[in-house]
Amino acid sequence: MSEEVSEPIEVLRLPVELEYQYTAGKSASRFLRGLQQGKLLGQRCPVDGRVYFPTRGCCPQHGVPMAEEGSIELPDVGTLVTYSIVRVPSANIPLELPYVTIQVLLDGADTVMMHVLGECELEDVHMGMRLEAKWKPEEEWETSVGNILYFVPLDEPDAPYESYKEHI
């Protein structure tokens, strides 16, 4: 046997690169095409009537398929359910720091959507605020939730806590 003791190999670089081609799926595609036309599409569960936003192929609570006929258009106004003030930058969000990430319960929906709040002083942000979507100019609309730039406060009284407490 050789006396020579070689250095143990501690690191092995094995790069893995695989390409995938995704399909958003039927229901997500419907949602995204809706956005392209400035529509916010939710879908109604045939069992308990809850409205899921965005649309899913299936009610995740009951495991029943949600048919295309169950699609409903929701308004672009809703209630701020909860929020967080962000003070660290993020590559895909072109907003100036600090900004506010929010969960909005659109009127008529039973699930919240995530977005950001604009045109509002940080000290004024609070749960229950009524909000409205601020859209990009129509000619820039694409199949993206980014068609909504941010939500802005509405000049309305706050929604009562009971109306959104299940969604916090």
Binding site: L12, L14, V16, L18, E19, Y20, Q21, Y22, T23, A24, G25, K26, S27, A28, S29, R56, G57, C58, C59, P60, Q61, H62, G63, V64, P65
Partner: protein, 335 residues
Amino acid sequence: MRDVAVVAFSQSPSVRRETDCNEVEILIPVIHELRTNAGITNEDVDFVCSGSSDYLAGQSFAFVSGLDAVGAWPPVCESHVEMDGAWALYEAWVKIQMGYAELALVYGFGKPSMGDLPLTMALQLDPYSVMPLWPDAVSIAALQARLLLDDGVVSERDMAEVAVRDRANAKQNPYAQVKGDFSVDQILADPYLVSPLRKHDCSPISDGASAILLAAGDRAKDLCKRPAWIRGIEHICEPQDLGVRDLKRSRSTEIAAEKAGVRAGKIDVAELSAPFTHQEILVERALGLGSETSINPSGGALAGNPIMAVSADRAVAHATSGPCLQQNLICVLEG
């Protein structure tokens, strides 16, 4: 041992590329059909177990979104195997044997068309010495086929005969993807895809899903007129290193068959899920199947597929995983 039976089955068609639906949307109607046909609701199910691969989806924890198709509120008792659905069925069977469940929902789903399946399969090989060479799944199988041919264990004609049989049987199976009448000579005249394998020696790449309902004892009799009772089920694994295995036979299938009691009686139907023709021959030999057995009446596209559909008293189902039949599962069913 408790008596456990397959009481319902459903599946999606096997297709080369599902363009509209995502992985979960392929699964949704399958689970829905299973529950509707069996006349059960989510509350009746004690245990849910799935088999799928995050490598096929290219996303970590992709299987979690599959639970959308099941419905997971109120919370359900659930598990997942990064394996074929047959191994999920095994886990559910164990769960029922342990007395933790009476009725179990088992499903498997995959959408390999999203990626490059033969290359993705390279990731299951030894990560230090083999995987970095990126040998694709067809090439690995071709090496095994070459070994079998050179040693006279099988001939190219034997392999073509398997393809002819399976493609012809698949004509009866509305869910099968590749079917039709071919002749052995016609197939042997085809060019090699990866020598010595021709296109017909390889299973197609399929997007699809299937689901099974397992029930214990009286529960099974309540739900189904003629339950398919699991009389034996066993899975055996061989080493990962291809060099230390005997690739000219399937030892793990032989042992699993012995333990599952395949030879304890006449087998009417056998569904073998081997992805290459030469591997199907090895599995057939390892099981000791003879002319009294109808092999792959479904065309072999999905293991277990025709068990609920054909009139069999005693059937054997096979599933495999890993390169060159590394792991094999054998299930003996009686109706």
